[in-house]
Amino acid sequence: MEERKSGWRRALAIAGSTALVLAACSSPSTTGGKSVTVIGTWGGDEQKAFLAMVAPWEASTGNKVKYTGTRDINTVLTTGVASGVLPDLAGLPGPGQMTEFAKSGALKPLDAVLDVATYKAETAPALVALGTVDSKLSGVFIKAAVKGLIWYSPKLHDYSAAPPKTWDDLKTQAAANKGNAAAIWCLRLGSGAASGWPGTDWIEDLVLRQAGPDVYNSWWSGKTKWSDPAIKTAFSTYLTDVVANIKDTTEAVDPTKDFSGGGDPLFTNPPGCELFHQASFITGLGAFKGKAAGTDYNFFPFPDVNTQFTGAVEGAGDLFGMFHDTDEAKSLMKYLVTAPAQDIWVKAGGALSANKNATSYPDDISKRSAALLANAKSFVFDASDLMPKAMNDAFWTAMLKVTKDPTSLDATLADLDKTQATAYAAP
């Protein structure tokens, strides 16, 4: 009796397991045409914009783009490169990681994929250089942003006619035009796991304009110490001119207060602040989103501090790279850097293109930001994005520390020096 029962079950088990193994090993088939897998950090509206950007390519080639968005891009790509299981294209976390991946051979060079001459003509030289490893083009910028714009509400005071040209000028004008605003500056450093980065943008802008691009470059590459007078001056200026003129330092460093709402006080009545320092992409976040460009908000570029270094602009961007050089992947990559593709995203707003010929900006504000990017006399990339990740992380933490407690400046800079000593000893 027992034997027969177990014989029955055994037969069923064998049948079931065969079906299981066969079925499980088959991967889902795509509906005609090939597919290209893409991983990026973009979610929400950015994801929508990216999918809209690739839609014409999908239509014309009959291929499908399979996009995965994740904020854990570092974990996914590090694991992918180490294990050999990678998507076709990926948004890279930054130039540092791009260099690592390129050197390890995971990233395929793009010189044969794109029309390099056109790409170089259409893109700022600094961005081209950042995507080049060992004189091979390994990464291209799909999206860009300008940092260090000073936002204000024209309703409180309209700076468009005569924006301050120097830092001292700004201080005088800001104090004079404060009106009934609660404070001069709005400041918010919170950003979840990346809290502190808005503060790093402040220091970078100040270093760039106080000490110049050369010091800026030797600083992020680890050659200038954090306790160097040039860098320390930037911190001091930040602490005395900005942090001393905000409403509430506790709020500025609070982890639950996201930077995306940092500019909201510009629009309250009475305003919570007069000026807000943020990148060009703030227009798609927080209270900015529902307001009218030009009437409700406007910006002027970060003024010079040392007129010797005028015309310097700090920017950032999203780097893209290719891991598998299949025909479809190459075709998609080629398409992504063209002006028509970039125009699609740019039209959606809140982003700038690295491509000079993408000009369908929805409003005057984005046009002006794009012009700043394109016409910069010396363009530098966001320093913290260029530093090794360990240094970057320490920088973020340091900004929170000093903003909360300005007296800890020297100790914090000393700690940063310690981190700098080991963080750059990369393989």
Binding site: G43, D72, F259
Partner: protein
């Protein structure tokens, strides 16, 4: 204990009726009600805020929306449902979670039975080693396993997450089931063996039915952990087959890389919470007294 019981029984029964409305009972209800309110409060805050606009959320506390003008609307919910492929993600989550719950239960049950009712040298040491594996951080396993999956050629298929979740869930599953199986009365098994039953029969006819509450608890937790998992699915499926990604990934993608749109996470959480709660309710009925036949007598 014979004569005294007869005399005391009526008094005991009278005492228990009186106890029904005693101060002790009132205190009990009070404590429980306060606990439930404290526990629910954060979730209620999320629920109320999920019905408000992001501007409202930023400017006033959620409790202000309980009084008119409330400004409540289902806009965020419809945004979540329309903006993402939530339905597709839901199906993927089911595909991933159900097998990843069923397989470990079976594998762990066999192992737990061996650990509880079979004697072999090194049993305790091996068991403790298995339990010790609970501490292994999942992230340390990703690279070697993904490499292996890639070489075998199954990277991106559901098989990867089924196998991985089984492996990851086994230490706890074995730990839990062994604890309950080991507490079953020895006499039951001994009499079964005397009657000539094989260990297999004892397992299916005695051990398994009497461990149902533990299996139900295990099913609830394994389902929950796999359902809410994001990273494991992302790593094993994301690089090559994004169309297989579960709902957790789609929900996380409601937020853009700058953090914008985080208000949508609230409504998304409620949508995602529905099924695990259903599973919990469904399996709750196995937590009833008497399944083990009052077996544990100490």
């Amino acid at each position: 204990m014979t004569a005294p019981v007869v005399i005391q029984a009526p008094i005991a029964r009278a005492r228990s009726t009186a106890r029904r409305w005693s101060g002790g009972r009132v205190a009990l209800h009070l404590v429980l009600i306060i606990l439930m309110i404290v526990w629910l409060l954060p979730t209620i805050g999320l629920l109320v805020n999920s019905l408000r606009s992001s501007a409202d959320i930023a400017s006033s506390g959620w409790w202000t929306a309980l009084f008119p003008p409330t400004g409540l609307s289902l806009d965020s919910y419809s945004a979540v449902l329309s903006e993402t492929d939530i339905a597709g993600g839901f199906i993927n989550s089911l595909f991933i979670t159900i097998p990843a719950t069923i397989i470990p239960i079976f594998v762990a049950a066999f192992a737990a039975y061996a650990f509880s009712w079979m004697n072999f040298p090194g049993r305790n040491l091996l068991f403790v080693a298995v339990v010790g594996l609970l501490v292994v951080p999942l992230q340390t396993t990703f690279i070697p396993i993904l490499k292996a999956f890639g070489q075998v050629g199954i990277a991106g298929s559901f098989l990867t997450v089924w196998l991985a979740h089984t492996g990851y869930g086994l230490p706890f599953a074995i730990f839990l089931l062994r604890n309950f199986m080991g507490a079953l009365p020895r006499e039951v098994f001994e009499s079964a063996y005397i009657d000539g039953a094989s260990p297999v029969t004892a397992f299916f006819r005695l051990a398994l039915p009497m461990t149902i509450p533990a299996i139900a608890a295990l099913a609830i937790f394994q389902f929950l952990f796999v359902w809410n998992d994001l990273l494991v699915a992302l790593i094993y499926l994301g690089a090559t087959n994004p169309e297989n990604l579960p709902m957790t990934v789609q929900i996380a993608n409601l937020v853009n890389s700058q953090g914008g749109g985080w208000e949508l996470l609230g409504p998304a959480a409620f949508i995602s919470m529905a099924l695990p709660l259903v599973v919990f309710f469904a399996l709750q009925r196995y937590f009833v007294r008497g399944i083990t036949g009052g077996a544990v007598k100490g």
